[in-house]
Symmetry: C2
Subunit: 335 residues, 2 copies
DNA sequence: TTGTATGCGTTATCAT
DNA sequence: ATGATAACGCATACAA
């Protein structure tokens, strides 16, 4: 059996209270007993039991993080940021993969509840009413990451998607493009889907470029959908000189489709993505994209959450995006 | 305050013992009281406290997973497999990012110890003596994933790296290549580094191809190192017709270097990778590679661990690798 | 400076 | 069929 505080106390000839005191450097013992206790702790290899501690403190020093898909490049970058911040302040993180599934999400929420996590980070998903209900019932801090909820008042950290999409489109326009196709994300997604096409639409409008329905197509943010979307665009609406894809994975799919159709990027077609994932850097050609500071966003979200746990205070934050220029965009050929 | 089992008991006019019984469908109450208790539980929104439960059961239903880098494509695929298995059997997973750093690893080990996790999965890293010492002191099941330890007897799940490297090289040879370069992983890494160059060397030997030192170069498994390695190869040992990279990320780097040097893959140069990460599929051209079933490996490791927790039994496992053929390899041009 | 005792929310062992 | 109560390992208020 692992030794308990009692065993230590007995062996050191002191009370458990004293042991507890030196464990927390609280006052109330002589230097001599301190030494003795510390020595016994060392000898016995004593480690406090965080479970017992949690029971009495009502603090577990752990937070839960819900991802629609833990293994996406997006999530893993965010996770790293979260881990960075939590490790720094002695919190642990339990990861949950919701698969965007309501039942699965609810199950995880309940598990986290039962495990008494001190807070929750909810990533990239729409906050359904039932989630909100149990989240508030849990009565712990929550932060929304890369999503937000118009109806429920949880603090969030995210980019201004519409503005970012606007900027991406404008970037293309300023490079001289006028026939710009769009590969949108999930069509009905009010968070990452709709705002991005809206930003695209607005940029065109502001620059007096007619909006053409056939230049828009939708995917699900994933690689394969991007590839399919590009194939479709090529079939049904040839002649565009640039594409804005609402995610890097879709952009990578678009690149692949172009490659397989013998279309040279960026010579014959420009592509801009969204997210700045690792794939953007690794793509051929390296992908110009709208950068979100994912690592930092994860870090900030975790810090915000831990501060809320401590103080109850939080301030939502729109984080700045950037256009990271690589090699997939260039001015269209004039002829 | 969240209601406790006591509150439920009081409101239902029964004892806590009875509530506990219906909670676990143990015998010892009438159908009528069962109904009543269930109703009260529902009304009060009672959820059992897993911390208190863990204190008495000495089981937390959570495992710890240590990754050198949680956000690598490798880790995230593995993590998904782990999550899949654990979720299925009501375990939670806390993720730890070691950065391959001894101190950080030790700190996490101690945290996991204090948090009383039921088991640990140790991924892709060499098991140092001090890790082993605390791991055994913790006295809980451990499984090694994609690594193993010659000196310490923990069960493991991994691929036969040397054989896999042999097969990759042989594949290239059978396609007709004879001048085959190697981009190895960390030169001194006894787990993923050395065996892969050894397999390469052996394949050459078996097919009577002279081993040439200048065709070997080393990276650190990462993208940039692959790119640099390829640049170096191009400068110092031109004339090879194929490259075997010991990781997909390095292969992607090699692809990129080839692209920037105007070398066409696979027309002028064949490239084969290792891992079968998402990047392999997304690469241009799609990367032929040595496939490891990472999702399954994660899943199996978690299942193995949970079985060990339950029964104490485990059986190490060498998992089969495959050559997944895509478009980055073809026979060399003959002229 | 140090010790005793109580309680955190459960489960499990005894009674009844 | 049901209830009282003692643990689990720790922190802390209160005594001494």
């Amino acid at each position: 059996m692992r030794p308990t505080i009692k065993d230590v106390a007995k062996k050191a000839n002191v009370s458990v209270a004293t042991v507890s005191r030196v464990l927390h450097n609280q006052p109330g013992y002589s230097e001599k007993t301190r030494q003795k206790v510390l020595k016994v702790i060392e000898e016995m290899g004593y480690h406090p039991n965080a479970i017992a501690r949690g029971l009495i403190n009502k603090r577990t020093q752990t937070i839960g993080v819900l991802f629609p898909n833990v293994s996406s490049m997006f999530s893993s970058k965010v996770l790293r940021g979260i881990e960075h911040a939590t490790h720094h302040r002695d919190y642990s993180v339990v990861v949950c993969n919701t698969d965007k599934d309501g039942r699965r999400t609810m199950k995880y929420l309940n598990v986290l509840w039962e495990k008494q996590v001190d807070g929750i980070i909810f990533v990239s998903e729409r906050l359904k009413e039932e989630y909100y209900a149990t989240l508030t019932a849990m009565n712990i801090p929550v932060v929304l990451l890369s999503t937000f909820s118009p109806e429920y008042p949880f603090p969030y950290i995210k980019v201004d998607d519409q503005q970012a999409a606007y900027d991406a489109t404008e970037y293309l326009i300023k490079q001289g493009h006028r026939r710009i196709a769009l590969i949108g994300g999930t069509k009905s997604d009010p968070l990452a889907g709709i705002p991005r096409v809206e930003g695209y639409r607005q940029a065109l409008q502001n620059y007096g470029i007619p909006f053409r329905e056939e230049l828009i197509t939708y995917g699900d943010f994933g690689y394969h959908s991007g590839r399919r979307a590009m194939e479709k665009l090529l079939r049904t609406a040839p002649g565009f000189t640039a594409v804005f894809a609402a995610s890097d994975e879709m952009a990578a799919g678009a690149l692949s489709a172009a490659y397989h159709n013998g279309i040279k990027v960026p010579d014959e077609l420009s592509v801009i993505g969204y997210d700045d994932l690792q794939i953007a850097e690794m793509a051929i050609p390296p992908l110009t994209t709208v950068g979100q500071p994912l690592f930092e966003m994860g870090k900030w979200a975790a810090e915000m959450l831990m501060n809320m746990i401590k103080t109850g205070q939080a301030q939502s934050k729109i984080v700045p995006h950037t256009i990271v220029e690589r090699e997939s965009v260039r001015p269209p050929k004039t002829h």
